[in-house]
Amino acid sequence: MVAADPALDLPKPENRVWKKFRSHKSAMLGGILVVFFVAIALLAPILPIPDPAATDWSLVRKAPSAAHWMGTDEIGRDMLSRMIWGAQASLLAGVISVGIAVAIGVPLGVVAGYFGGWTDAVISRCTEALLAAPFLILAIALAAFLGPSLTNAMIAIGISATPVFIRLTRGQVINIKVEDYVDSARAIGLPTRLILSRYILPNVLPPILVQATLTIATAIIAEASLSFLGLGQQPPAPSWGSMLNTAKNFLNQAPWMALWPGISIFLVVLGFNLLGDGLRDALDPREH
């Protein structure tokens, strides 16, 4: 696999990385998409839009119009406003839970893969236990003990996404640790900490970046199934996932109810993936 060459990185690596990143057109597009949605999420309270919880019984499931650009939902609420307010919950659910999974999964995977033996056995067997336990049980248990909130939903999703990161990281590390340059680094007595951060981690990053950007989509959708169990965003507060969930019953009668959250999730995921690609290329020392 790829060897990070420290010599190239020495003179102000941040500058070089940023320069490469900026010249990466699709990465910039990804960045713009992400910034756009984050901005919308943050600006929701000051944008001139109706209350996302305001209902109108005469406007149930109405198609997009001049008054309601994105149409109305199953109980006559403005879809545009709900999309904008829902961005907050959905982005948080997507990003934070993936953050949790990466923060736990990657270090555990590195340790398991690099040290092997009993450490690996213990971590791997626990991973298998976590994989085999139905997510639903975990979620109901958490909902019961931690109480209903978006934060707890993020924890539940994060925990359930962790095993993938452990397995991915571990697989990469197992294969890299036998490379010549890692052997020689060990031979010259480089401390483990440095070997891990300088040689192992950079090679683990590409698949992790890919997986993290993909898991964001899964996490946004999973938040909805949790709000159904009483975990996650509570009604009437909106989230894209729960909007999508409701839309399921109205695919024929009100297709726009599924369309907007679907497109938004797609764009956010596209944004993060393009960003991830850009980051990946920028960090790849051999590509200039």
């Binding site: 696999m1 790829v2 699709s26 056995a121 791997s124 067997r125 991973t127 298998e128 236990a129 994989l131 085999a132 336990a133 139905p134 639903l136 049980i137 975990l138 109901i140 248990a141 019961a144 003990f145 095993p163 993938v164 397995r167 991915l168 571990r170 697989g171 990469q172 197992i174 294969n175 036998v178 490379e179 590409p206 698949p207 970046l209 890919v210 997986q211 950007t213 993909l214 989509a217 899964t218 959708i221 999508l244 399921k248 695919l251 024929n252 599924a258 679907g262 999730i265 797609f266 995921v269 596209l270 993936n273 690609d277 990946r280 290329d281 790849d284 051999r286 590509e287």
Partner: protein, 314 residues
């Protein structure tokens, strides 16, 4: 290799025990009383108490676990609260369904995801690459229920090409069985294909610029051989890891897709069982899923060895 294999098989048994304790404990922690659901709308207290005794729910939880594991060792996984069916029978009915769906979905995922990933990496930055990426990411963000219902409305209702839903055992009518499973496998497969495509692309990008690919090219090997043999082989680690995980997840069941296409597999069964607190059914399925994950992880670890000559010598 053999020693490694045997050691892992030996370790599998305590692992399964660990998992069964873990899930058993977790289930007992859940709020809700299975018998209130079970006793019927009238909830006759006399029946409630009798059932509690019958299913030994008045015993201390560790005793309940020991009873369960004791029976399990003799091949008795208990009976479903809900349908009175033996859990072993339920598993025997559903495992072939789930396996068929898992295998067919994985075939779709691999057949679409990996070639798309290789082409996309090879043609990085071109229109082909962009299109492949956008298609893959839409495959991931289009909810399964949406794609599923749209396919049913189009293919079954409008064109009347394939059965809308249900399951036909392959032993009964092989082609009809494949035809019935085609749409659900496609729906599940596309989402997984996206993941495989993105990982293949990323891993291939990493190796296509590496020294040994450059060397292989310099040696005058055909481009096809360079890409497919030298580069792809070295890009396989994350793909193997993921395929193993995805297959394990497929065995655990794909609830929404099963529900939409009314496939009697594990996914729907386990969700219903969790909601009804049908403890024995959940335990039984978790046992199967656990074996699935352990086997797949073992295969992945063995694949690492086979793919990486250095690991073999180490």
């Amino acid at each position: 290799m053999l020693a490694f294999f045997l050691r892992r098989v030996a370790i599998a048994i305590p692992t399964i025990l660990l998992i069964s304790v873990f899930v058993f404990a977790l289930q007992k922690l859940l709020p809700g009383d299975p018998l209130l659901v079970l006793a019927g709308e009238e909830r006759d207290p006399e029946v409630l108490e009798f059932l509690r005794e019958k299913y030994r729910l008045n015993d201390p939880i560790p005793i309940q676990y020991l009873t369960w594991i004791g029976n399990a060792l003799t091949g008795d996984l208990g009976t479903s609260f809900r349908t009175n069916q033996p859990v072993t029978q339920l598993i025997a009915q559903k495992l072939p369904v789930t396996l068929q769906l898992a295998v067919m979905s994985l075939i779709f995922a691999i057949a679409i995801g990996i070639p798309a990933g290789i082409v996309s990496a090879y043609r990085k930055g071109t229109v082909t690459d962009y299109i492949a990426n956008v298609v893959a990411l839409s495959g991931l963000s289009i909810p399964n229920f949406w794609l599923g219902i749209m396919l049913i409305l189009l293919v079954s209702v409008k064109w009347q090409l394939l059965p809308a839903s249900g399951y036909v055992p392959p032993g009964e009518d092989f082609w009809l069985s494949i035809k019935t499973m085609l749409m659900p496998a496609f729906v599940l497969g596309t989402a997984l294909a996206a993941t495989l495509m993105r990982h293949t692309r990323s891993a291939m990008l990493g190796v296509l610029t590496s020294d040994y690919v450059r060397t292989a090219r310099a040696k005058g090997l055909s481009e096809r051989k360079v890409v497919l043999k030298h580069a792809f082989r070295n890009a396989l680690t994350p793909i193997v890891t993921l395929t193993a995980l995805l297959f394990g997840e497929l065995i655990a069941g794909a609830v929404l897709t099963e529900q939409i296409f009314t496939i009697p597999g594990f996914g729907k069964l386990v969700v219903d069982a969790v909601f009804n607190r049908d403890y024995a059914v959940v335990q039984g399925i978790v046992l199967v899923t656990a074996v699935g994950f352990i086997v797949m992880n073992l295969l992945a670890d063995m694949a690492y060895f086979l793919l990486n000559p250095r690991l073999r010598s180490a």
